[in-house]
């Protein structure tokens, strides 16, 4: 197989492109995305709404809506026993087995992710039964154990209907459900956006704790940079369907090389903010049916030059495991260091 030199890569995405067929034309939602996810690693995907984060993750599980097409690329997954899986070539039956037992997902809308007319326990039994685990006793024991780990009252929640639980509780039920089959990869799609700040805190604490106990890799979608900084080992910035910068969390936040990453960082409020004000990124994300030429960010970019308007920048190494696609890397870095983010999220 064509795997990287790292032998602990569990998920390798290579040159993945996904479009939606719309009445106006083809909308390129994810464009040539590549990254590797290592065992136990947490990768945070950050970027504005509509930048393709969710499409990318739905694509990883092949849950795209019917009007979406995978234009090219590979998704390679390595099972615990070392066997490789080519996700894009699985047939329906294999795909059903792959989903959830190898790669599960906690969806953004926790409130609507649970079937309102059946009990929580039936959703656990359903999931287990779909993967050949028909011994209810074992499923129950596993579920109750997971509920304890995510700090829920096990017996009560197990027998409850979704509407009897609060938003934060439902989010944790989903988390427990995602871990039921002990997957290697868990995708968390903005798990903290729909809940209040205290619940958010609890969920993050719970996540950090069980990540260590159960040893799974995580893809973490968020537009909350402080949460991303706290959770992630690696951060990838997405803009207009492309991964424009990817690197270790510390590197990326302290030495950003892409103007868009810098823009996101400058838009985060800081406690010690003195004279300097919050800077928002002007304009809005581009039309993905007819994207701008050159670097797609140039329209909104304060560093843009003539070159940016015509020539798309390649994703190049700028440090150890750190890649960025920007013609003005040096100026961006200088600007970032001048405005040193002393209290950037750690």
């Amino acid at each position: 197989m064509t795997f990287n030199s790292h032998n602990d890569v569990v998920l390798s995405v290579q040159d993945l492109s996904i479009s939606y067929l719309t009445p106006r034309g083809r909308l390129r939602a994810v464009s040539h995305a590549s990254f590797d996810l290592h065992q136990g690693e947490t990768l945070a995907l950050i970027g504005e709404s509509g930048c393709g984060k969710s499409t990318l993750n739905l694509g990883l599980m092949r849950l795209l809506p019917t009007n979406a097409r995978v234009d090219g690329g590979r998704i390679e997954y390595t099972r615990r026993d070392g066997a490789p899986i080519d996700v894009l070539r699985l047939n329906d039956r294999q795909l059903r087995q792959f989903r959830w037992s190898e790669c599960s997902m906690v969806f953004q809308a926790a409130l609507n992710s649970l079937n309102p007319v059946i009990r929580v326990r039936d959703m656990f039994y359903d999931t287990a039964a779909a993967h050949g685990k028909r011994f209810r006793r074992q499923v129950r024991d596993r579920a109750l154990d997971l509920f304890r780990r995510v700090r829920l009252d096990p017996e009560r929640v197990f027998n409850a209907y979704p509407h009897e639980l609060s938003g934060g509780m439902r989010q944790r039920v989903l988390l427990a459900l995602a871990l039921l089959l002990n997957p290697q990869v868990v995708i968390l799609d903005e798990p903290t956006t729909a809940v209040d700040i205290l619940t958010q805190r609890t969920i993050i604490e719970v996540l950090k704790a069980i990540r260590e106990e159960l040893n799974f890799s995580t893809i973490f979608i968020s537009h909350d940079l402080s949460v991303a900084a706290e959770m992630a080992d690696t951060v990838a910035t997405m803009y207009a369907g492309e991964i424009v910068e990817i690197g270790p969390v510390y590197e990326l936040f302290y030495r950003p090389r892409h103007a868009y990453t810098l823009g996101l960082l400058e838009a985060v409020p800081r406690l010690s903010a003195g004279e300097e004000e919050l800077v928002s990124i002007p304009g809005s994300p581009p039309d993905l049916i007819e994207p701008p030429a050159g670097c797609k960010f140039h329209v909104r970019c304060p560093f843009a030059t003539d070159r940016c308007r015509v020539e798309p920048p390649p994703l190049e190494p700028v440090g150890e495991n750190h890649l960025a696609a920007c013609w003005e890397k040096a100026r961006v870095l200088t600007h970032a260091l001048e405005n040193a983010y002393h209290d950037a999220p750690r």
């Binding site: 059903r96 792959f98 989903r99 992710s113 007319v117």
Partner: protein, 370 residues
Amino acid sequence: MEATPAPPVPLEQEAHMPRPGAAGLLRQGLRRIATSYTFRVIVQGALTLWAVTTFTFVMIRQMPGNPVDIKIDQLMQTRGMTYEEARNMAAGLFEFDPNAPILEQYLDYMGKLIQGDMGQSISSAGTPVIDQILRYLPWTLFSVGSGLLISFTLGVFIGMAMAYWRGSAFDNIMTAFASIVYGIPDFVIALLILLVAGVQLQLFRVGSVLGGVDNDIQAGFNLAYIGSLIKHAALPVLTYVLASVGGWILTMKSSTISTLGEDYITVARARGLSEGRILTAYVGRNAMLPLVTRLAISIGFVVGGSVIIETIFLYPGLGRHLFLAIGSRDYTTMQGVFLVIAFTVVASNILADLLFGLLDPRVRVGGQQS
């Protein structure tokens, strides 16, 4: 301002002390029953029935051409009775004295009704109304009930299939079909079946399918009799199905489409559930919810909705019986049938409320979980 002497403080406090005891518990228990949803629904239903009964009672006595006077006139003319004789006979038939105070008549009527006595039929003297209702009601329940069941089942499956294959040829054809039959009144469908299929195309002999059952077949639990029952019920049932299936199809389709867009369906797919399980427990059960209320309301109109169809097909059900009763000014019968109609509507609405609670835990009523 007038200064009122303050009463001794301890006494005042004592007066406000809660006194737990048998009486208090009883009061608490009664309050819980009175505030329970099921109890309220049933009381509401009973009140509705009482209102309908009272209204028909008053209406029939206030109508121009008082039925008693009409009967008296009839008797005097056809049998050559004197006014006195005719009046006594009419009073016997109606089982009330038309000259008695209205309140007395009303109490008399209600008292008998509670005991299940709806009085005697006017047009066929000597037959209790309740006996006639019990004789005709099974026919209507059988034909309209099976029509409703067939069209509901068809509608649910077709509507769901259309939502799954949205935009396909099947979907487009069925949408057109459903909209067209939904727009045609049921009596037009009945007449079209009789005239086009029966008279013009001669697909069946019109004379042989009208009525309830062939007269020459011995009633009993045997194939010939059941076959005859089905043969005669087929056209009315077909009419009911055609007239109502469009509504079920369209409702189920839109309900399924919105359910398919719910996040929990995507999550169920992500969990690797089989399509069969998703179809039944996730899509089907949620998409059916809005239809359950409609189904119960339709059950309520089983009796009342069959008047014209049964008349067209000469089907011996309660609807045709009501039609004949209206024609012959058989007021006691009308009163009885109206009461049955009101009862089915009220009862099926109560059923809908309770059934909905069973299917959807979010509106489950009464038993608040602690």
